[in-house]
Subunit: 440 residues, 2 copies
Amino acid sequence: MGKVIEGFSKLSKSEKIDWITKTHFKDTKLAKKRLEQYWNNDSELQKSHDEFIENTISNFYIPLGVAPNFLINDKFYSLPMAIEESSVVAAAGNSAKFWSTRGGFKTEIIETVKVGQVHFLFYGDSKKLHDFFISKKEELLRSTDSLTKKMDRRGGGIQSIELVDKTNRMNNYFQLHLRFKTDNAMGANFINSCLEQVAKKFLALSEKENLSKKTNKRLEIIMSILSNYTPECIVRASISCRVENFILNKNGSKGIDYAKRFINAVEIANIEPYRAVTHNKGIMNGVDALIIATGNDFRAIEAGVHAYAARSGEYKSLSNAYIKDEKFCMELTLPISLGTVGGLTKLHPMANWCLELLGNPSAEELMEIVAVAGLAQNFAALRSLITSGIQKGHMKMHLTNILNQLQANENEKLAALKYFEEKSISVDAVEKFLNKNTFK
Amino acid sequence: MGKVIEGFSKLSKSEKIDWITKTHFKDTKLAKKRLEQYWNNDSELQKSHDEFIENTISNFYIPLGVAPNFLINDKFYSLPMAIEESSVVAAAGNSAKFWSTRGGFKTEIIETVKVGQVHFLFYGDSKKLHDFFISKKEELLRSTDSLTKKMDRRGGGIQSIELVDKTNRMNNYFQLHLRFKTDNAMGANFINSCLEQVAKKFLALSEKENLSKKTNKRLEIIMSILSNYTPECIVRASISCRVENFILNKNGSKGIDYAKRFINAVEIANIEPYRAVTHNKGIMNGVDALIIATGNDFRAIEAGVHAYAARSGEYKSLSNAYIKDEKFCMELTLPISLGTVGGLTKLHPMANWCLELLGNPSAEELMEIVAVAGLAQNFAALRSLITSGIQKGHMKMHLTNILNQLQANENEKLAALKYFEEKSISVDAVEKFLNKNTFK
């Protein structure tokens, strides 16, 4: 059963590694060597990576790939993509190439407002609470002046504050609902600091004005926290081309036939949640690869995006496709809150590198590029699903991985790639093939 | 505007880097150096990482931390967590410690069935289609024998196949809905290969039986693909302790008061989607850190989990808390489909290391550990939200990051950590503090 280790976080890195490898691994030496093998040579650089989180023992490598040829609003970009899944970068590059000769990607920022809430219980007269809030609204906002000064200068800050009565859903439950703009920052620290300040002031004022008393606690703050649901922080990316140019492969079908199949496939994702989840997962392959590469937080984006996909009451496709004026049109609308300053964006040297690759975009420009990556990925997935099927491309990469796992040499790899072109691939089958044949 | 580069994917790694750095960076040399700085010394090892995806130019480091003291089903674990966000590993460690003296975490696998679908249009008589499907069901299943043989031996394979009429949602739209078990593999390749085989056979049989004809195409397969929505692949993790032992900090409150506040906070996430999204995002901080560390695909898990959170028609909390028999109880139910074989699990040496740290778990055991990581994270987030607020812990890490960014030395760091204990933290304020004072 083992036992608790006390004070682990206070041990040095090498002491932590000693304990971890001694207590959990058969071959302590090898386990240690593996961790060290992934450390950076530059110990200063390694130290800065170690300090990003707690109890760091090594670096987990995510491959960083590049997808060139993205024509976005008439300008070419190469997208940095940090992702472990094969085929994603290749798919992005293929989409980019296809659309580069068909007008490229267009984008538009719809809105950039983020939300934070103070959640509280109030046991008194709700009319009195309402009047109190109205009379103190300005004072509440002013209480954050020292926090918002800098953001105000950048054109951000608190946009509105409202009292929301939620007692129809839960006894005595109210909110202060605040809306923010945060310029080029994702803004989590800024928003949370403002909310905690507002909550503190709100409670203090309520006690001062006898709306609540310390002794009988008629007002209880439960928590103050930003929301990762950002339906007012929205970007749209779109592509379109004349139907006759919508030729998805060389099977000889007409553009209109491909377009119809494609639109059917999107419509299926709109009405069948089992399909919608995977359809949107494909979009997020592109989105997250850029989010990670630029030092942003993908859990925040994922949660907001999927909740948005379910906003109608049914989980649906985030993208849309149709024919209009003899053009095939496809668009993707995403709620994404991200930053190009703050957090790890400037601290992680590789995130910094990726932002430079993109021309040091503003947060709004990065939202646009990220939405394009999602749309490109969605287009590529549907393109292969409705033509050759998803497995053809996947299996080639899968085969390469199996060959590496079996430590095949270059001659064996070439022979296997040829042999398995039209055959089912499994570790078993590849192993048999390698054992049965001799290669020179 | 730039122009398209042809044949980029066929360039060598160094040719790719030459082109990327020359066309996108002011300081080409520095941009190259930065990429190379993150390469592994061992060129064989680096090559295997390069081959995971396409157009790889470097490695993106995600810090790998460890959270010890997780008592899960009466056994202690140390969890490997690959995550860039500060406070997550610390929070996991704190939760683990708290519950290690209160009975630890309990888990249970509810089900492990995954779904894949063949989506098709049929323009004929639906009664005939139904009869045809019933008569061919066994033949369809048998057509996958060569693919499923090995999985059958491992207790997996196709569990069921059904024809589903979806014409009430979309004209002529039907599905073959298949359910799978995939043992210790996540199973995406297996499921997709089976589906494509079934679709091929289904179309061939329909043409042979004159249900459809090549000439008038009464049956059109749109696509065959697994679903990342896995409401039948479910794990539950839970914690509980006597209410009087539910003491969340040293403010002197009673266990019952903490429990009530805590339960209110969970209930708020249940009825307010703005809160639910962030509540569940916190859960996924723990889940994804393990998913990445073990070489699994977090986009698949994210999509499935959030769609599951919205299954009632309203986006809700994934966790639940209540008092029963004078005990505080909390549980988390998650749909997670993952693997401990296949994909990168064995190919990525660090993923391999992380699996060994966990005692080389089966897929079911890993589901349990992942759910515990999510529950621990959720508990930790709520614990700080309803006591000191989220910013206190966050800000300390934030301060460390700012100090590193400003290249503060050790003395400056110590002084700043002390000075900012009770003050608002911003890059500005820290810069001012460092400039105003001298440190020795």
